[in-house]
């Protein structure tokens, strides 16, 4: 494997938004849920590989978007970060400390720094508690302020999220969906977290209310310098909110990059299909349906994921190698990684796989001694300053 500098070919995307120190670094995170047999013994007969080796970074005060279809593991990833689940394997480094296997007691102080906003504002608020009690509970639990000061702080928080501070005595059912989501946001803000995991924060809301809540989250992020892990299936909202976006499919990240690159020049066939499927209002001018990449079939079961590349069963460009070897998440640009044997823009996918030389296999994925041993590929989170140059099929250097 030769390493040639390709300075003159280096593209110059807007990467300014992707600088800054990572507050969260996740490496090779896995979550397998056991599947139990029916009957008395309840033996484990398999595992749902909900999240299977994802790595990413979230930078301080910035946002990472996780998109993908239902069942791809994006919500599970969010819950692992907040440690609502204990991961099967992997590292979750928050503020320089691995929190993947901390005990409940050790986690307690960390709960202040990592908070979560839930999808459904109707089920995530206790109907028998007043708004004041809901928003004030974290203050009482963590003994941040003396008891007689809690109310004042709650009112302040309600005001921040755009609710009437006089309403602290009301119950959740007296509020509309958008207002309830604001209560959920106020609760998450109570302890001034450094990282907020927002799991589909607006998808249960009406369109006109969605924009209000998205704007509120953006204002709060700017004001309090909160980092967001933004989990959603709405591609347009995620692009609007997050400078960096990861696309997940069946428990794996298939493509990750800055939003300009990912949306304008996606390289993975799944990302391309996903983007082409979004109905576009602008189509009204032209009439009829937009040209789109049709995906056949349904999502395979995560208990028995397909061999090799997990997307190959629905991929329009899959070849033999895809069934035999799993494509590595290969960096193909300064802030762009893609896990595909045939990465390329729509209609420009290479005819031959680009990965065999890196993996020590031949073009159909069989082990190939002539190709030499597999190259050590960086698999960690973040981006390195060397990447695979697609035009020259070599590793380039910035």
């Amino acid at each position: 494997m030769t390493t040639e500098p390709v300075d003159e070919l280096k593209p110059h995307p807007e990467t300014s938004s992707l600088t800054g120190t990572p507050i969260l670094e996740v490496e090779d995170l896995k979550m397998y849920f056991p599947v139990k047999s029916s009957g008395f013994l309840r033996r484990t007969i398999g595992h749902v590989q909900a999240v299977d080796g994802v790595s990413f970074q979230v930078r301080s005060g910035s946002s990472l978007g996780l998109v993908g279809e239902s069942g791809c593991g994006k919500s599970t990833t969010g819950r692992l970060i907040t440690r609502l689940y204990e991961p099967t394997a992997g590292r979750i480094e928050f503020d320089g400390r691995d929190i993947a296997n901390l005990s409940e007691r050790e986690l307690h102080p960390l709960r202040r720094d990592i908070q979560m906003i839930f999808q459904d504002p109707y089920t995530s608020l206790n109907p028998r508690h007043t708004v004041g009690a809901i928003v004030g509970a974290p203050l009482a639990i963590h003994k941040v302020v003396p008891k007689d000061k809690i109310l004042a702080r709650v009112q302040e928080l309600l005001e921040i999220v755009g609710l009437n501070p006089e309403h602290y005595n009301r119950y959740p059912h007296e509020f509309s969906g958008g207002q309830r989501q604001r209560i959920g946001i106020a609760r998450a803000l109570t302890l001034q977290p450094k990282l907020l995991v927002a799991d589909e924060p607006v998808s249960a809301l009406d369109v006109s209310i969605q924009a209000q809540v998205v704007n509120l989250l953006q204002d709060l992020q700017r004001e309090f310098n909160i980092a967001f892990l933004f989990v959603a299936h709405d591609l347009a909202i995620v692009r609007h909110f997050c400078p960096e976006i990861a696309v997940m499919y069946l428990g794996k990240i298939v493509e990750i990059g800055d939003r300009e690159t990912l949306y304008a020049r996606p390289n993975h066939p799944y990302t391309q299909a996903l983007l082409s499927a979004v109905p576009d209002v602008k189509q009204a001018k032209v009439g009829g349906r937009r040209e789109r990449i049709r995906l056949e079939g349904d999502l395979p079961s995560p208990i028995n994921p397909p061999s090799g590349c997990r997307f190959r069963t629905r991929c329009p460009i899959a070849q033999d190698i895809c069934a035999r070897v799993e494509p590595p998440l290969l960096q193909v640009g300064p802030t762009h990684k893609v896990a595909c044997h045939f990465p390329g823009e729509v209609g420009k996918h290479p005819e031959k796989p680009i990965t065999p030389r890196l993996l020590g296999v031949d073009d159909s994925g069989m082990p190939d001694l002539a190709a030499g041993p597999a190259t050590d590929l960086p698999t960690g989170p973040g981006y390195s300053d060397t990447w695979f140059d697609l035009e020259h099929n070599t590793m380039g250097r910035a």
Partner: protein, 395 residues
């Protein structure tokens, strides 16, 4: 807005439909004076927020308010037969045969104790005097038609054994098993992922072409409307606030509520620095709808109408500036100006400058944008002067 010219070819005609629910607190006017029509092979998109009366209106077409306390009045003419005048028994015979409905959530709309096949067979045998075996063959045929793999095996599965997209397909199969002339799809893809949504929308269009059915698609996703519908009806607080051909309405909307809907959703190609412009406030209560125009408490443009008309007088649904086919319920005298100069630049500067180029009588721009601008843009052309405010006061 007499539609004498189109009356004879309208397959479905709804006239002044009202659905009122008497409650302990007063009458909830869920639908209040709705009129529209739809020809065979065409699609009508109904858009609006939750509680705007979209679903209530369409359930009225299916006669689903019979036997409840709802007061339904007006006319629903399906091939010149008023569905509201039919007896319950006659309506039952038509339901599923002439008019069918696809619900948003197929898991709760299908019976969990019966196999998918049984439910399809039942839907078929209610209206056709055939043997169980023939009905089963028909059920398998329909499942195959909607793209369910191995339909002869899957027909004996229960709904929970299907994935979300497959359940929605099965529901479409159930809706179409009797070849109904009118299909009402109530948020058919809201619960689905985008790629599955695309498959379902493709399927609906294929089937529409095949059976020449009329489709009413109820959604809050303007993108879906843009790609599916021939006509759009925007509802707010139980009333139509804008109604017209999709191409016309979504490109040159004239009602501030429609503007709000358009500007509050981000676009996958839009500038990421631009802010979303939400519609302020919340949807109104249908028990005590606001005075005058129901949208005025949330309307950022109400001060542009002289004499506080928006507070006091309910605007009529009248043809806008773009001609007879495009109706709007708004007092704004110059909506196209406000839209082009104030609304559009904020959420889609690209399109705004494109429009502006077509409007300013600059020879160079004229040559470039001349043919693309078309005659419709011409109505707005030539008035892009900075003193629009004076003009507004004069009107």
């Amino acid at each position: 807005m007499s539609d004498t010219s189109t009356k004879h070819d309208a397959f479905l005609r709804v006239e002044d439909l009202r659905v009122h629910f008497p409650t302990a607190d007063g009458v909830v006017k869920a639908t209040d004076g709705l009129s529209f029509e739809l020809a065979r092979g065409k699609t009508l998109g109904i858009v609006g927020e939750s509680g705007s009366g979209k679903s209530v209106s369409s359930s009225a077409i299916l006669g689903l308010h019979r036997g409840t306390r709802a007061q339904v009045s007006g006319q629903i003419l399906l091939e010149d037969v008023d569905l509201l005048q039919l007896s319950d028994e006659e309506m039952r015979r038509r339901r599923g045969l002439d008019v069918a409905m696809i619900f948003q959530d197929p898991l709760s709309a299908m019976h969990p104790y019966y196999t998918v096949g049984n439910q399809l067979v039942e839907a078929y045998r209610v209206h056709n005097n055939v043997s169980k075996k023939a009905a089963r063959t028909r059920a398998i045929e329909m499942l195959e038609r909607v793209g369910i793999p191995q339909p002869d095996r899957r027909v004996d599965d229960y709904p929970h054994q299907f994935s979300g997209g497959m359940r929605q397909r099965a529901m479409i199969a159930m809706g179409l098993i009797n070849n109904p002339g009118l299909l009402i799809a109530d948020e058919p893809t809201t619960a689905l992922d985008v790629t599955v949504q695309a498959q379902i929308l493709d399927l609906l269009q294929d089937l529409q072409r095949e059976f020449n059915s009329a489709i009413i698609i109820i959604t809050h996703d303007l993108g879906v409307v843009a790609e599916m519908a021939d006509q759009v009806l925007v509802m707010y607080a139980g009333k139509a606030v804008e109604y017209g051909p999709t191409k016309e309405l979504l490109v040159r909307p004239e009602m501030p509520y429609t503007w709000g809907l358009l500007s509050s959703v981000p676009d996958v190609t839009a500038d990421t620095d631009s802010k979303l412009i939400p519609i302020p406030g919340n949807p109104p209560s249908l028990l005590n709808p606001p005075s005058g125009c129901a949208f005025h408490p949330r309307c950022p443009h109400k001060d542009k109408v002289p004499g506080r008309l928006c507070w006091t007088v309910q605007p009529e649904l009248v043809p806008g500036r773009q001609g007879m086919g495009h109706l709007k319920r708004c007092h704004l005298p110059d909506p196209d100006q406000v839209y082009a100069l104030e609304v559009l630049p904020e959420f889609d500067p690209e399109l705004a400058s494109e429009l502006a180029q077509a409007r300013i009588p600059d020879p160079a721009a004229d040559a470039a944008a001349g043919p693309a601008a078309g005659p419709a843009a011409g109505t707005a052309a030539g008035t892009a002067t900075p003193d629009t405010a004076d003009e507004r006061d004069a009107q």
